[in-house]
Amino acid sequence: DAGITQSPRYKITETGRQVTLMCHQTWSHSYMFWYRQDLGHGLRLIYYSAAADITDKGEVSDGYVVSRSKTENFPLTLESATRSQTSVYFCASGDNDNQPQHFGDGTRLSIL
């Protein structure tokens, strides 16, 4: 079955550390997205990618870096984690950027 796999599912780290969240999709979708979900804010777009080697910033991109060397993978890196980046992170994929997307089950990230 096609789907999206995120890893790790849970992560605890300390401020200042670098953290990478992984996302792998088997849908063969060209677009991939990273969101964070926080109480009272809903889902907010961090970064998205239209194709391999094409990425662009979303609404809340400061402090995050992405890459997309292969169509199926879209890792998200927090270069120097801060407590404000404690959140649940979701990866999604879709055929374009403004119609239905398929989501992974998220990574719960706590930064102490």
Partner: protein, 113 residues
């Protein structure tokens, strides 16, 4: 003004009730309207998708879009305990900087057996 407003709930109903979930939005350019269901500690899953005003039905679920009022609704008939989840509305195709999907903050629904 937020682009999309959604009542956060929580909403608690008895099994068998009809549930109405709603979102209002400010940008009349939005063309695509979705409802996602999110169970606890899981990712959102697409429940309903429509791109025109009017009603779309799928089993016990009906999505309603009123573009003139900038209002979308999701109705659940004969609600079941398994419908207990957070429901997110989502809009797309607003054009320009807002061409990406935007999401409501979600309504938490509990269906009591």
């Amino acid at each position: 003004q937020k682009e999309v407003e959604q009542d956060p709930g929580p909403l608690s109903v008895p099994e068998g009730a009809i549930v109405s979930l709603n979102c209002t939005y400010s940008n009349s350019a939005f063309q695509y309207f979705m409802w996602y269901r999110q169970y606890s500690r899981k990712g959102p899953e697409l429940l309903m998708y429509t791109y025109s005003s009017g009603n779309k039905e799928d089993g016990r679920f009906t999505a309603q879009v009123d573009k003139s009022s900038k209002y979308i609704s999701l109705f659940i008939r004969d609600s079941q305990p398994s419908d207990s989840a957070t429901y997110l509305c989502s809009l797309g195709g607003g054009g320009g900087a807002t061409n990406k999907l935007i999401f409501g903050t979600g309504t938490l629904l509990a269906v009591q057996p």
